[in-house]
């Protein structure tokens, strides 16, 4: 058995823009952390103040970001991870994750005014849609049942507090 990363030499096929942007993003994070560190007031009477660790973390992030940038400029590129249910050769769709994220944020937005059941039902529906399901009636039905059962399980069974929203009084 050989570990995949040890044996394969870095592939050089020119500079990859996404990898470059990731490295720049890490550098930006490091810079932001450094700025944030400078905004922390000094502690009084402390041997090690509240700034020391943030400073170390900022410098480390900047250093590793710089190393990633050098690597990206030399043509290193990251291999997308292999997970259960993924196909490395499948055409990559960015629309599907966007649909999930959009549905999630919409559900979050209506969670308190309309209630937990409708909010999570919207989330459920959007994920099922993004995974290619198109039987809309079935999807809406399952979404509502799952949301309702989850709601009852957690509020009645486990005594957690979830917003009832427009279904207040009915549930």
């Amino acid at each position: 058995m050989t570990e995949p990363h040890l044996s394969s030499p870095p592939q050089r096929r020119g500079v990859s823009l996404p990898d470059l942007l990731v490295a720049l993003g890490i550098l930006l994070l490091g810079a932001g952390l450094l700025y944030g560190t400078s905004q922390i007031p000094f502690g009084i009477n402390a041997v090690v103040g509240p700034r020391v660790f943030p400073l170390i973390v900022s410098i480390g992030t900047l250093l590793f970001g710089a190393l990633l940038l050098v690597g990206a400029l030399r043509g290193d590129r990251a291999e997308p991870g292999a997970e259960e249910d993924t196909d490395p050769d499948a055409p990559v769709s960015l629309a599907n994750p966007a649909i999930i994220l959009g549905g999630f944020l919409l559900g979050t937005l209506v969670l308190q005014p309309l209630g937990f059941v409708l909010g999570t039902a919207i989330m459920y529906f959007s994920v099922a849609y993004a995974f290619g399901e198109r039987r809309y009636g079935l999807m809406a039905f399952v979404a509502l049942v799952v949301a309702l059962v989850t709601y009852l399980l957690f509020t009645r069974g486990l005594d957690l507090n979830l917003p009832a929203g427009i279904l207040r009084g009915i549930l």
């Binding site: 058995m1 570990e3 995949p4 990363h5 040890l6 030499p9 996404p18 952390l33 922390i40 502690g43 402390a46 041997v47 090690v48 509240p50 660790f53 943030p54 973390v57 480390g60 590793f64 190393l67 990633l68 990251a78 997308p80 991870g81 997970e83 259960e84 249910d85 993924t86 196909d87 499948a90 769709s93 960015l94 599907n96 994750p97 649909i99 999630f104 944020l105 979050t108 969670l111 999570t120 989330m123 459920y124 529906f125 994920v127 099922a128 849609y129 993004a130 995974f131 290619g132 399901e133 999807m139 399952v142 799952v146 989850t150 957690f154 486990l158 005594d159 957690l160 507090n161 979830l162």
Partner: protein, 497 residues
């Protein structure tokens, strides 16, 4: 035989009818959730945290013991019946076990995994029973500077030494450390990186980070490159082995256990290495080396035992030093902290009933898993047939409940979405998730030990080289950081030459 007396007391706690019920629920839920594709053991424990929120600590940890082993077990069922592994420690099981299943030997593969897990888990728990109190006795005397050094060792081994790319592991670790900094500094009372949001003054809840990076990140990533056709192997009847299978399995089980436990117990980055080592060893020792890669039972029995023994080993540093060495252990640590408990040597003294109740339930959980899983294997196998659109949608809804119920806050759900997006990016750009998780959990602890050590030495940083144990551990840290890249470079030169 102090350990034995305490263990009996632990069994008394764990064997009460109500706690037995919690253990059974834990084992069942752990297996159930662990079997689902896309959910590894770490996420299983994280998603089931809210279920235990209202329980008293002892019952909650008895349930966690069940969830922990159950989640591990569920993962191996998925690897055998579905052709792709969910996590690195199941690669071998997926490789060899899936080949066996393809040859119509799914029942035997599942059985050798179940019985091997039981044997490895039980031996591992016995070793834990006797090692943990002894280590805790020593650990009480370790000075803060050496504890800081131990955390550095965990950081380096988990992120850099054994991962694919040390640089990417370190980036992930520092991202986690940065997240851990957010909130009010406990020693000075100053707020750090709160961006003016009152919600951030208490810090970012660890569970939000875990569920975001694992569950939401995974859902987004799978949606972006989704495999439409699933290749699940049908299973008729329960898991069972014939005499020949037993004869070929028992030695690999024991050898796997011997490899797995020590690797779990030292901070060496989880179960991946011992499973690889066990596979290589079994291939060398086997009388049928030609079967390896085509579905050899030894290649499932050994690595599965190694995986489970290492899961028991991981509990040694977690319980005695408060040092998690895997993502799952980090979540258990966070669970302890939610109850206001700090795992470490003192826990054996202050909360002995809880620790020993937990250890006793590990024995009980193991027996339950075996009894449950041999006959119920076909039921678990059916879970793999849930249509993916409905499955991933359900995972997202459960994640939402888990995070929302922490503080009843919509702000947390926005954070969840952000961490989900970052989790997607980490999978897409090959950054390991575990170092980030460890960074979030251990970062604040590392800072506090660092400050205590510096206060005790009146600000003299040379404490880290003068204190012998600290200096020794830091030397190992340096070697663990520098040696692998050098070896890699030399290996590359040899290949080139």
């Amino acid at each position: 035989m102090d350990a034995l007396t305490s263990l009996f007391a632990g069994f008394e706690t764990a064997l009460s009818p109500l706690n037995l019920l919690w253990a059974l629920i834990g084992v069942t839920l752990g297996t159930l959730v662990g079997v689902l594709p896309g959910i590894g053991p770490a996420l299983t424990v994280a998603l089931l945290l809210p279920v235990t929120a209202k329980l008293p600590p002892v019952s909650a940890f008895i349930m966690f013991a069940g969830i922990y082993y159950g989640g591990m077990f569920g993962g191996s069922t998925t690897s055998i019946l579905l052709n792709t592994p969910g996590e690195s420690s199941s690669i071998i099981t997926a490789l060899e076990g899936n080949k066996m299943a393809r040859r119509g030997r799914a029942a035997a593969a599942l059985a050798t995994a179940a019985i091997g897990s039981f044997i490895a888990g039980t031996i591992g728990t016995v070793l834990l029973t006797f090692f943990a109190p002894a280590i805790a006795d020593i650990a009480v005397q370790i000075p803060p500077s050496a504890k800081f050094a131990l955390i550095m060792l965990a950081f380096v081994t988990i992120s850099a030494t054994f991962g694919g790319s040390p640089l990417r592991g370190l980036v992930s670790l520092f991202f986690g450390l940065a997240i851990g900094l957010v909130g009010t500094d406990l020693q000075s009372g100053q707020s750090r990186f709160a961006l003016g949001r009152p919600e951030l003054l208490d810090g970012i809840d660890f569970i939000t980070v875990v569920i975001g990076l694992f569950a939401i990140g995974e859902t987004l990533y799978v949606a972006s490159r989704y495999r439409k056709s699933q290749d699940v192997i049908k299973l008729e009847g329960g898991a069972a082995m014939n005499r020949e299978d037993w004869r070929r399995s028992w030695k690999p089980w024991l050898r796997g256990t011997a490899l797995g436990f020590p690797f779990g117990a030292i901070p060496a980055g989880g179960a991946e290495i011992p499973t690889f080592l066990s596979y290589t060893l079994e291939k060398k020792l086997s009388k049928h080396p030609e079967e390896f890669g085509k579905g050899a039972i030894e290649g499932v029995a050994g690595p599965e035992a190694a995986n489970n023994a290492s899961a028991a080993g991981v509990l040694v540093p977690l319980l005695t030093l408060g040092l998690p060495t895997s993502a799952t252990a980090a979540i258990l640590l966070a669970a302890f902290q939610q109850y206001g408990l700090q795992p470490g040597p003192l826990l054996f003294i202050t909360n002995g009933d809880l620790v020993w109740g937990l250890i006793a339930s590990l024995y009980i959980g193991n027996v339950m898993l075996l009894l449950l899983n041999l006959p119920l294997a076909p039921v678990w196998a059916r879970l793999l047939l849930i249509p993916r659109p409905f499955l991933y949608a359900g995972i997202l809804v459960f994640s939402t409940v888990g995070v929302y119920s922490l503080n009843n806050s919509v702000f947390d759900l926005v954070l969840l979405a952000i961490f989900g997006l970052i989790g997607y990016g980490m999978r897409r750009f090959d950054f390991p998730v575990t170092p980030a998780i460890i960074g979030v959990v251990l970062g604040p602890t590392a800072e506090s030990f660092f400050r205590t050590a510096m206060q005790q030495s009146n600000g003299d940083a040379s404490i880290f080289v003068r204190q012998p144990l600290t200096a020794f551990i830091l030397l190992i840290v340096l070697v663990a950081l520098v040696l692998p890249p050098i070896l890699r470079m030399r290996a590359r030169k040899t290949v080139a030459a």
